[in-house]
């Protein structure tokens, strides 16, 4: 767990910059590379927050596996590296107003919720609580195998169904 403002703010600036670069880059390959940086920085934030297990999962799945899938899907388009023309939608005034209103409403609801409503008694605003690595793993094991065992099994079943479905589609030649 790292409670250093310099690391946090520099990483936050970088993750926002890479996210914007992923969206506004005209080349899809550059978007993919920027999104990989965003996913790795997300893993860094999980590590900063003291959740090392989530950081490893994030780096393994979103930092390595997902970019491979995305890269394959870019490659089979056959025109990777080519600049996409007319990629952005046309901005109209009502569309922009609607977007701004939605974003402001969302931000307002969000700030009201975190400042007024959802405040449990044990909420700690300023300091980050100390969590040892042993307690972290213990809480994960308790959560996965006792408290949320059905959800865990359901997610495992879903992953198995996806893999079986892919092999079925592959056999049928779809």
């Amino acid at each position: 767990m790292i409670d250093n403002p310099v690391i946090f703010y520099s990483a936050a600036f970088m993750i926002i910059a890479f996210a914007l670069a992923a969206l506004f880059s005209r080349n899809v390959i550059y978007s993919l590379l920027a999104s990989v940086c965003v996913f790795f920085l997300g893993a860094l934030f999980f590590y900063i927050l003291g959740s090392e297990y989530n950081a490893i999962i994030q780096a393994a799945i979103y930092g390595l596996a997902v970019p491979v899938i995305l890269g394959i899907s870019i490659m089979f388009r056959g025109k990777y590296g080519q600049k996409q023309k007319n990629e952005q939608r046309k901005f109209t005034v009502p569309y922009i107003m609607l977007m701004c209103a939605g974003i402001f409403c969302l931000a307002f609801v969000y700030l009201v919720m975190i400042s007024l409503v959802m405040l449990p008694d044990t909420f700690n605003f300023t300091g980050m609580p100390e969590i040892s690595a042993y307690d972290n793993i213990l809480a994960f094991a308790k959560g996965i195998f006792i408290n949320y065992v059905w959800a865990f099994e359901l997610v495992s079943l879903l992953l198995t169904i996806v893999i079986a479905g892919f092999s079925m589609f592959r056999k049928r030649g779809a």
Partner: protein, 101 residues
């Protein structure tokens, strides 16, 4: 000076809004999928933040983040397979042309 909980929550909000804007504004289907993953990352950062600052004993938010990471990967795989089918039919990655499967 310690980093407060508001900084983490604001970062999650910014990531969510960037993903929302990207999923609405871009026409490339791969960028739309990437934007959806950004939204999921923002939500996950908020989950872990609440788990660490509010529920540091059970860490329920971290476990939910674990599930959502797995489900996000599944969703991405299914969406990319649909994209594969649509691209073979339409020969385009413009999401506006994907009106029928």
């Amino acid at each position: 000076m310690a980093v407060s909980v508001y900084s983490y929550l604001f970062l999650g909000l910014v990531l969510f809004l960037i993903g929302l804007a990207g999923s609405v504004l871009t026409k490339n289907v791969i960028k739309v999928l990437i934007s959806i993953e950004f939204m999921l990352l923002g939500v996950n950062i908020n989950f872990v933040t609440f788990a660490v600052f509010c529920d540091s004993v059970n860490l329920d938010g971290c476990i939910l983040t674990l599930f959502y990471t797995g489900l996000g990967a599944v969703e991405l795989a299914v969406a990319l397979y649909l994209f594969y089918l649509m691209f073979r039919k339409k020969q385009s990655d413009d999401i506006g042309k994907y009106t029928e499967l």
